[in-house]
Symmetry: C2
Subunit: 395 residues, 2 copies
């Protein structure tokens, strides 16, 4: 129940019948109107749920979000807008809140209408069960092919108060952000200016959700929404130079990276988490892009699944990515074992590398030059199960 860890947040999740079974409708609410910021898919095909919520977030405030799994409400035309608005209107009226202060996030099959009647029917039960404890039900209600709940939380002391942050997300296919290719909700009780919330969110997403890839497929529904309700009662943070901002931003970065790794590890069919760190790039952005190019290669990912030491596929993926580097300056490490120096394979202890490949987490380090920047990206192995899962998604 990370999502309800900060003060003044309540949530719930129910089964209303969008999916055949399992929780499929969730509600996250702040006790007061919260500062809010969001980042959304850059896919040209956007779900009406995304369009409506991103539009409402322009005010920078939100009271709560309704989220559903089982139906993406994408490629539903104008009807998709009417459906989402009908749900939000009814929710506002039941909560006695301006419906413009409510957001919606959807995930699931594309091209199907939301079953509005079932959702409206479920709303009273959903609201009735709002509590701290039901945070986990919310976290489960947004899951699709996810095998595990993905949640993180942290807190820090600042000027005599405790600030709490919680977050949860659903993966686990169509994960190649820009943006996050997933639903992710962040709550905090920090009192923070809405522009600063936006800055902190972007800097955290850039190194976390935007640094993972499962399958290079970008969704129509990616939404990351952060709510800050001020219930920690700190003096409002107004400048990026304030210590409170730095503490908040860094704490957010840290848990978002943790969350991103959980998403990558739970990629569809995945057996292993792969972490690729690129060192010696010109900028952090480049380093992350290069790392993500490697961790996104089907061939590389298949090799990792097969526990094969095929560093050639790392070189090849680096080279296929447009960021320039000198292949003759590349070193590659699996764990702490160096396999490549100056772009050429060297002798190494095969036994030790196989041990690393047998682990649940495979760390790869690549030195690409003498630049000062580094960056990490995460992904997972490509397994036969990925194909089985995605060959029978609708069934």
């Amino acid at each position: 129940m990370s999502i309800t860890f900060p003060k003044g947040f309540f949530a719930n999740g129910i089964h209303c019948g969008i999916k055949k079974e399992g929780l499929d409708l969730g509600l996250l609410i702040s006790t007061c109107v919260a500062k809010a910021s969001g980042m959304f898919t850059t896919n040209q095909v956007k779900s009406p749920s995304v369009v409506i919520t991103s539009e409402r977030l322009k005010l920078g405030i939100l009271r709560g979000i309704i989220a559903n799994s089982g139906c993406a409400n994408a490629c539903t035309g104008n009807q998709g807008f009417l459906d989402a608005e009908a749900i939000l209107d009814e929710l506002g009226s039941l909560l006695k809140e301006d419906s413009k202060l409510l957001g919606i996030a959807s995930t699931g099959v594309i091209g199907k209408r939301l079953p509005v009647d079932k959702i409206l029917e479920g709303l009273p039960l959903l609201i009735d069960g709002l509590s701290k404890e039901a945070g986990t039900l919310f976290e489960r209600a947004i899951m699709t092919t996810d095998r595990v709940v993905k949640e993180v939380q942290t807190s820090f002391f600042y000027n005599g108060v405790t600030v709490r942050i919680g977050a949860c997300a659903k993966g686990s296919g169509m994960i190649h952000p820009n943006l996050a290719t997933l639903l992710c909700f962040i709550t905090t009780d920090m009192e923070i200016d809405k522009e600063l919330l936006k800055i902190a969110l972007k800097s955290a997403v850039d190194v976390s959700l935007n640094a993972i890839t499962i399958d290079k497929d970008m969704s129509t529904n990616d939404s990351v929404i952060a709510l800050a309700n001020g219930k920690a009662d700190n003096i409002e943070i107004k400048e990026t130079s304030e210590k409170g901002f730095v503490l908040f931003r860094d704490a957010l970065k840290e848990i978002m990276i943790e969350l991103a790794k959980k998403i990558a590890k739970d990629g569809e069919g995945a057996e292993k988490l792969i972490e690729v760190e690129v060192i010696g790039a010109e900028t952090e952005e480049q380093a992350i892009r290069m790392a993500r190019a490697v961790v996104g290669s089907n061939l590389f990912k298949s090799a990792i699944w097969g526990k094969e030491i095929n560093w050639g596929r790392i070189m090849s993926s680096l080279g296929a990515n447009p960021d320039p580097f000198d292949p003759q300056k590349v070193s590659i490490f699996f764990g702490d074992v160096k396999l490549v120096e100056n772009g050429v394979g060297i002798d190494f202890d095969e036994h030790r590398v196989i041990k690393i490949l047998e682990g649940k987490e495979v760390p790869i380090k690549i030195i690409v030059g003498e630049g000062k920047a580094r960056g990490r990206a995460w992904g997972c192995d490509l397994t036969p199960d990925y194909v089985f899962i995605n060959g029978s998604y609708l069934s």
Copy 2:
């Protein structure tokens, strides 16, 4: 033996021990020095074999090419250059030809040195067996994970002479050109200016090898090399406006598209060929890029393997590709059955669509707007076998 179909070309293929078993060394020779043109991988990490051959092709002439499978001679540093040159020097001396008029192409595992001794030892046998008939041995010697030989040929009459064109290629993973992510050799006995050969080659590659994708992985070794030896005895083609040029270019395009489809169909682990045609784009280039974005999506490919009607993944892939379009103007057809109109799903005969998905070739048509351009791209389904093959590539 398509590759030796045109007059004045001989070839051979042998097993020299680069691979444990199977043919692994091939030689293609023209009886006289031929006009030559090549296109190579745009990967920043290039095999010395690629660097040497593309350098030599700057003269626009070549006598022949030696090609090997089992070892990519990539990420081999300076030694990789010395190895390739030693082979070419010895080959030149045995053929009594300037070794600068010989090219080399390699495919296989990255990071391993070419076994120069074994190759040198094999050269006399390789040369000794040169013939028209041994063209198929050459075509087999370049194969890696390919299940079938991929060859095409055509001929046309022009000004009283018969012009012949032949081509062969190896796939079948790391196929996401720009360029072709494969080895491809084209022979013709047409007498043609070398600049025109280059123009015809580029226009054919753009709509064929550059319009396929197996796994979005681009190789370090892609090489397409065309040789035109003039043995058809036509008057040399010198202008793009000549009828002979148009005939040649169109014939080349046609067989290269046929070859590209064979490569896509034989993608690693593939069970089906997928053809995606995009209609109504602004330019042919955009149309091909959009078609390739769809046919390259892991999720879409998995759905096709599972015979699932998941057109949402088509919309999502189109939207993730940067070329602009209006989602509300999109129509999608599986075969001749329309599933989507104005970006929204419509009722359709599911039974007929399932029939189409059960076929060995799945044709998808997408109207993206009212532009005048159209383009096609080819790929294959993503199957558990792709992962099995690439998880045990080195074994």
